[in-house]
Every structure is written in C-alpha cells, then in structure tokens.
Symmetry: C2
Subunit: 558 residues, 2 copies
C-alpha cells in the first residue's frame, strides 16, 4: 500500500505516524519524523559519508521530501548526540526554515552551534538533560541518559495520544564509563513498566556477538605504550571522542608528557568540551602546538585527527612529509580508532607510510586501543529484556544490521509480527499498541558537492564512474551550415584514455567516410550526425583497445 | 649507491644478485630475479589487483624493466604455486620471449597452461615435485613441499656459487592439512644444517599474532550449516581453493546433497584439479548446473565464485536477480572466504542484498568459515628457529608486513644487520655468506586496461580521478583564421558536473570578453587563447560552485 503522495489529511487524529527518513539501510544520515494531530517532531538530522561509487560527493543528506511541505508544522528537532551522522544535516534543514528549535544536551548543542556558526546561522535552542521532561504540543518528551562514544548522549521517550515511543539514538551499555554516566536502565525499566509501544533501537553492532568492552580498558594500554615510547607519541582518533582524548591526556600526564592538540576540529571540539566541563585537563598538560617543538621528544604527545586516512587531515600530511611534525625513527603512532569500511586501503597506506618513515604504529589490529561506541548483541538482549517493548523498529544500520537486531528482539520474546523491518521512507502508524507499516515513500540520495546541494543525480555519478574507469574521447567537427561540408575536423582529443593522440589517425578516415555516407543519404541534423560519429568511434575503440570510454561527439554548424 | 642503469658487467663472477621485481610493498605481482655468471632465474611472475585510486585498471604487472634487455639470459621461471599473484603475469612475460621454460608442480603448470591457452601460447614446461633436484646452468634447484591455500605449492632452494637461497613462495604451516602434505620442516632443517645464506620468506601474515587455524577446522562448520539449512545452500569461495571446495563436496555428500559448480573459473579449475587427482569428488555428488534446477531445494548446494563482491561474478548477479538461481527466503549463503582490503563495501553490499532477498548469510564475521593461507607470526618463529638462516629478506607484503616479519627474524636470533628491508627494485648481492643492498632500480607500475599494456600513466590516472571527482566542462570556440574573430561558440558542454547547461549562460559573456581583450592585445595563438579560456572558466566555476572540474578548452581556427 504505497502512498506516493504524502497526504497529511490521511492521518487520523490520535494516530502517531513515524517515518524513518534516513539511517535505515545505511550507517549515517539518521533522521526520523514523528507526526500526530498535524504536528511534527524530528529526531536527529545527520549526514552520510559517500562510498567509492559516489566519486566527488562531499556529503549525503537525508531526503527532506517527506517534510519539505510541512516545515511550519515542525515543533522541534531533538538531537540525541553530537556526532555528524546525527547533527550534520541540521544546517541544510535550517536553510529551509531557520527558526526550527533544536533540542539537545549541553555538549550536543555546543557542537551544533559551533557548526551552525560556520554557516552563519544562530539557532533557537532548548537545552535539556537526562530526567528532564518537556512538552511540545502533542509530544511529551522524557530524556534518558545513554552512554556512547561521545559524552552527554540522550535517548528520548516520546509520549503521545497514539502511544509511547522510545528512541535510543546511538548507544552502548558500558557498565564502567569514564564519566560514570551509565545508559540508564532503571529508567528503561520504569518506561517499560509504564509501557513502551514502539522501541527504535540502534542496530549498528547487532551482528557483533557478546559485549563491547569498556572504554576504560583502553587507558592501561595507552599508558603502557606511552611509557615505553622512546621518542614522540602521536595519537590519532575522532575529534569528538572526548573520553578517548581524556584517556590520552591522563596517560600523558602520568608519564610526565605534555599534549599538543593537532587539527582544527580536534582543537575546536576539545576547547568546547573543556569549557563545558566534559573534558578534565590535568594542570599544565596541554601545550600550544606552536610551542611543542621546544619540548623534548620524549616529553610530548600529539593528539591528532586523520585516523581514517582522510587525505587532508594531519596524519596523512605527516605521511606525505607535509606537516611541521616530521615523523621519524623512534616515534610511536597510535591509531586509537575504528576502521570504517571503505577506508581500509587509505588507513593501511597511512600505516605503511608511517612505518616507512621509521615509526612504530599501534592500531586496533595489534593492540586494544579502540572499543566501539555501539551496543553489541549481548547488550541489546539486556536492553530488550529490561524494556519489554510491545513493538520494535530497528534503526541505524545497514540492512544486515537491522535484520540481526530484529532477530535479537524476537529471541528475547517480542512477537515476530511486532518487529518491523523498515527502510528509509517506510510510513509506520502507531495506535492502541499496534504498529503497522502503511506505506512507502520514495526516498533519494541528496548529494552535496562543493556549494551545490541536490543537483548531482545518479546519472551524473554514472557519468563520473565511466569517466573514471575509461576517460573520454571528444570529437569536434564543424560543418558548413549551407552545404553540410566538413570545414574543420575531425578534431579528436582524449583525457584519461591513455594513448598517444596519434592512435586517432586510424579512426579519422572512418569518421569522414561515415559522415560522407550520411551526407549522401541526406542526413543534415547535427544531432543525428553526432550519433553517427559516436557509433563510429565507439565501435573502433572497443575493437582496437577493448575499452569503452565516454564518446563525446560535437557537430557544429558554422 | 643507486645503479640507475642496470649494468650486468658490474656483477662479479661468483656473486649472486637478487632483485625483487615485484611483491615488496604490495600484496601481489610477486616476481624475483636471481642472477649469477650472466644467467638469470626468475621465481614467480604474478599480477597485482588495482585499488580504488587506480580506476579502470584491470591488472597491474611487474615492471619487467630489470630483465627486459636480458631475456635471452633467462634460464627459466620457477612458479611456486598457481595463484594469480604468482602466475598471472606469465603470459605478458612470454609475449616478450615465448620459449622461456616454466618450472612448477603438476597443478601449478596445469593452471598456467589453461591461462596461456586463452592467450594462445603453448609454453615450454618442466614439471617438478617436492624432493626433486634440477640443475639450470649455475643454479642448482631443490624443491620443498609447502602448504598453502592451493595444493601442490613449492618452496625452492637455489644453490649457487654465491650462496644458497631458500624462497618460500606463499606458505603456512597447517599441521593437519587435508591432503597430509605438510610444509616440510624436516627439509627446512636439513637445508638449514647445510647452511642457508639468504631466506626469502612470505610476510603476508607476519603482523598477525599466533597461528593460522587448520583448514580442517572449517569442515565441521560447513557440515553444521549445511545440515541445518532448510533450503538451498550457496557457498562462495576462491575458484582455486581446491581444499575448500573439497570440504564443501564432502559436507554436501554427508548431508545427502548434490553440488553444482557455478562460474567459469570454478568449473575450469575444479575440472583440472579433479582430473589430476587433487580434488576427490565423492561418487555422484556433482551435478551439471543445467540439471540442478530439477533437484529439490533441500538437496542442492551451489559452489560459486564472487566472494569478493566482483560485480560480474555469480554472487553479484544473484543479488541483482540477474542469475538463474533466484535467491529467496530460506536460502543459506556461505561466504567461505577472506575479505581482501578494499573490497569491504562491495562484499557488505552483497551481504545486505542477499539478506534483503531473505537469505541467511554466513561469513567469517559470524562463523569460522575461513582460514588464511599464510603463516602467522607464531608459525614464522618456528620456521626461523628450524632453518636458522644467515640472512633474511622478507618478501610478499605491504611495508608494514615486511617490517613485522623482519622483527620476528631478529627476535628469533638473526642479527639485525642481516635482516634486509628492501623494496621492489632493490639490488642485493650475496657472496661469502654476506648479503648487501648494492643499489636501487626505478620500478614502476605497468597497467593493463582492456588490450592495452603499459600505456596508462600516472598522469592518466590523475586525469581519471579528477574526472571522477568533478567531471569536466568542454568549451569549443571556432575563430576565423584570418581575422581571429569568433565564428562559432563558445559552445559549452559538461559531463559529470551535475548542473543544468543553463548555468553556463553566466560564463559565456566572460569568455567572450576575455577573448576580446586577448584579441586587443594581439594574442592569436590558439594554445594561448585556450589557456585564457581555461583560466576564465576555472575561476568562475570555483567561485560559483566551489568545484574544480577538468576544464577542456578548444580553440579551432577555420
């Protein structure tokens, strides 16, 4: 029962409609819309990072299609935490309507405000914390502390006439978190006792058996590596991972070393985190990068970005010897980070490059210097058993993760019929404890490239892939508008095709012959002539080189 | 002391010169040259598969530069085993001199002969087996059995006046191999007692702690998965992994199922392996694919290619529902294979696609259905301790693997000065038990694209990456050869640039103005005018869109 046109009138009063706009079938661009009685609440508004088959794309946004005509009905956007895949698309949403209120914890709002400042937007914000309740029109919100790889993450319970929803955001269940701020299972228990009709739950690690180790387990490893390091230590991690940086600061301090932060986002985020009290900087441990060169090599730790092999980040620039910190023999580099699928080759190039420069490289492949930020299967089973939700909607994950999470829900006793496997744009209605899929909206990818938003189409990306694989050959011919006679050309040029231009001498006579034949047959339309040129060159290049470059013919009348 | 020109006269009689031509600093295109007294022996001649920053490239060959002018001095090519990264470049070498003898085991030669047949080459071959000794001019060869993820792999000891070398090829030390053919450590011990001056040793898994589990451990897992599978089972693996296929045949047979082989290379290789007795096909278990449709779903196993997400292989076609086997609910797919770095996204797309079609997907992430073919660190320490080589040259691996292997050599007692870290093209001379790096040759990448070999340059790949990231804008202007006046244009076309052509209305007047100014200044050279057009359009597009497409200006005189 697809609903091709999203008709708000079709939604009965008292029914809660849930539309996952992004984040289902992908890791990123998380965004969910909740609607009841004509009002809309959004949870999260993140970006997705492109894969190798989307060349040149900077970011992928959620498709705002389902809410684009309903902007005035949006009462607010709840941001569960400050990661890009949950807040990164907010600037693009606020471009559509700047005064949509943003609701989130102190750190989350500080991160989004810093980002919006770059876009020259000052948002309306409502700061909340765990235990707090807020009413937004028909939505009664309750915020619950959850633990994740960034401090101050929140789950949100949404109580409406249509039923109660609990949305975890991203979370894990570290029982010994650095900041002692646990995922609040007592609150989960209370909400479950009151009755949770629909549970939206993070699926990222649902196919990972067992339990994610505590963040605290990394500390001794960092301490040990730093203690043994004969010279400089460079640690790379995500620039929002406050607790990871905290552990680096503590380990450096314990070993009598000072720490210089490297990378714009690292400096910005840690400054915010320290100002707001989320990061505790041991007295005198931080040193400005500009002064770090004066500190002996065995007394300094650099805390840097670039752990995913990003070409412009600090670590890549060190490998290319294009950074003031010249990595050399005796230096130790710690990649205290995950390895995001698709980045493997880039990260291995970094590891090889650093090794070649003489550094010892410590990474999750050879030491326990990273733990995930997401609940593994074992944690999720605790969660289901404590909450006992009526219905479950696995969110945040590729399809295999959603299926794995659904399986856990069923294994812990949620009836199979009550576990919804949905994708971006699936329309789900909740009423009287029953959650039903009632339709499917078309959801596309919205590509950001440079300052362009949403202009790049799948056809453009196909062109780009063809250009990447094969290059192109352009053929320009100027014909006399009166006589149809060739005045100039065929001029043939190629890029990325990798042959000497002299190879085209072989095809020029064929083009001339094909055009002559066309002229005899009375073909004069430039477009038709272009097709003839395209076919002639395409056949030749395929036979002669077994290749299929893009053929770009241009016949101009003069 | 680089030797830019490879001067054979510079090599003193009685000195053995070793040049790793490929495989150091990369996983693939393994090839090593050994020279003494004017004669050359090659060990292996493989291909490397391209990474994502080498778009459109089909294969990468070793750079034959160091031996190109010495073809007549080559006495033979020893092929240690039948994997593509060790034999794949043989057809390209034999194109240079067709009668170079190929030396290898029965299965290895059968695989390379099948490949050469496609290239219409019948090679000169010398079949050898473990324990056999052969003399080729100044080279006395002894072949030693090693265990790997393909049967019939050999290490080769090369005894010369300059010293004795042992080259492992690829190997591991499975102590319970399916075919009971162990890596022959007794022979390693004997050779070591006689004295091995230089040990060339596989580094692929040197940074993996511990021991690679036995191939045998996969059998019970396959058996269990197949026994529980309610409907069809599809197993994907490498098409040369005879023992993996053997275990699938056995598990299918034990569960009363028949097996259909899918994929051209799978059928070809397993036919060879069965004919030569390397694969034991249980009576009546194999069924032709065309007849497999008549067999009940719970009585069939499909053994297929495509475990790395290759777009044209069987498994990808199943996901795209472009294959006669229509995967659906209840089917079980087993990826009994490694996950080669760089293929992660493609493989995860396969897993998601199959999951979406309703299949249960079993892979190394959730079950023990794969073991590596390479010796891990623990195995390598055994090897060093049994062999006690004088000098060590880690081969087969990215730089980090070579460094990890070097470290193991040192830890087991090889003096640090005797462990050589080399790269492709490093020239190493061996004499009187001393191995020294004496030079470094320039070694490049030789790209195969379609039927083109070695034409693609790094500049072409850079063009392709630019085209992929940004697309291109072409501007064609025809000027009167006499007056310099613009007759046609600017005609502007773009591909992969992702904007409506109407955006170019904004830049046309700027181009016209720039050309008018150039005309005033007396600029008439088409090349100079093209540069002016390039700059004008480049600046505009960068300012207006923050993008940097390739600008392809063409000014033609008519």
């Amino acid at each position: 029962m697809p609903i091709d046109v999203y008709d708000p009138a079709a939604l009965e009063p008292g029914t809660l409609r849930i539309i996952p706009i992004g984040g289902l079938g992908e890791i990123g661009r998380n965004m969910t819309s909740f609607e009841i009685d004509g009002k809309i609440l959004i949870v999260d508004c993140g970006v997705l990072f492109p894969e190798e088959h989307q060349p040149g794309v900077d970011l992928i946004l959620p498709d705002f299609g389902p809410i684009r005509d309903r902007l005035d009905d949006i009462l607010g956007v709840v941001l569960t935490h400050g990661h890009e895949d949950h807040i990164g698309a907010v600037p693009y949403l606020l471009r559509l309507r700047q005064d949509i209120p943003l609701i989130g914890s102190g750190l989350t709002l500080a991160f989004i405000e810093a980002k919006l400042k770059e876009h020259k937007i000052t948002p309306y914000t409502l700061q909340v914390k765990e235990g707090q309740k807020e009413r937004l029109g028909p939505f009664n919100l309750e915020f619950v502390a959850v633990n994740h790889s960034i401090p101050d993450a929140l789950a949100v319970a949404i109580k409406t006439a249509g039923g109660t929803v609990l949305h975890t955001g991203d979370f894990k269940m570290d029982q010994l978190p650095l900041d002692r701020r646990l995922t609040d299972l007592r609150e989960f228990a209370r909400l479950g006792t009151e009755g949770v009709d629909l549970f939206l739950v993070d699926s990222t690690n649902a196919d990972v058996p067992g339990f994610t180790p505590t963040e605290r387990s990394i500390g001794p490893v960092l301490d040990d590596v730093i203690a043994r390091a004969p010279r400089r230590v460079i640690v790379a991690s995500f620039s929002s991972h406050v607790h990871r940086v905290q552990q680096v600061l503590d380990a450096a301090h314990a070993n009598g070393r000072r720490v210089a932060l490297l990378g714009r986002s690292m400096v910005r985020n840690m400054t915010i985190a320290a100002d707001l009290g989320y990061l505790t900087v041991p007295d005198g441990v931080l040193v400005d990068f500009k002064k770090a060169g004066n500190i002996p090599d065995d007394k300094i730790v650099y805390m840097s970005t670039g752990s995913q092999g990003e070409p412009m980040a600090v670590l890549s620039r060190m490998v290319n010897q294009d950074h003031q910190v010249e990595v050399g023999h005796g230096d130790t580099v710690i990649l205290a980070s995950s390895l995001i699928p698709g980045n493997e080759n880039a990260v291995y190039r970094i590891i090889d490059g650093l090794t070649k420069l003489g550094a010892a490289v410590v990474h999750k492949g050879n030491a326990k210097v990273h733990v995930s930020g997401h609940a593994a299967a074992g944690e999720l089973t605790y969660c289901y058993n404590i909450l006992k939700p009526k219905n479950v909607l696995p969110v945040h994950g590729e399809y295999r993760h959603l299926v794995a999470n659904a399986k856990l829900a069923v294994e812990t006793g949620v009836p199979e019929a009550n576990v919804l496997l949905a994708e971006d744009g699936t329309v789900i209605d909740l009423r009287d404890g029953v959650a039903r899929k009632v339709g499917q909206l078309d959801i596309g990818y919205v590509y950001v490239d440079g300052s362009t938003v949403g202009e790049i189409t799948e056809a453009d990306l196909k062109d780009r892939r063809t250009l990447a694989e094969e290059g192109f050959i352009s053929i320009i011919i100027v014909v006399d508008a009166q006589t149809g006679k060739v005045i100039v050309g065929p001029e043939i040029h190629a890029k990325g095709f990798a042959e000497d231009d002299s190879v085209f001498d072989a095809v020029r006579p064929r083009i001339v012959a094909a055009l002559a034949e066309a002229a005899e047959n009375g073909v004069r339309d430039p477009f038709a002539l272009q097709q003839i040129v395209r076919r002639t060159v395409g056949r030749w290049v395929n036979t002669a080189f077994r290749r299929r470059p893009m053929i770009v013919p241009l016949v101009i009348e003069a």
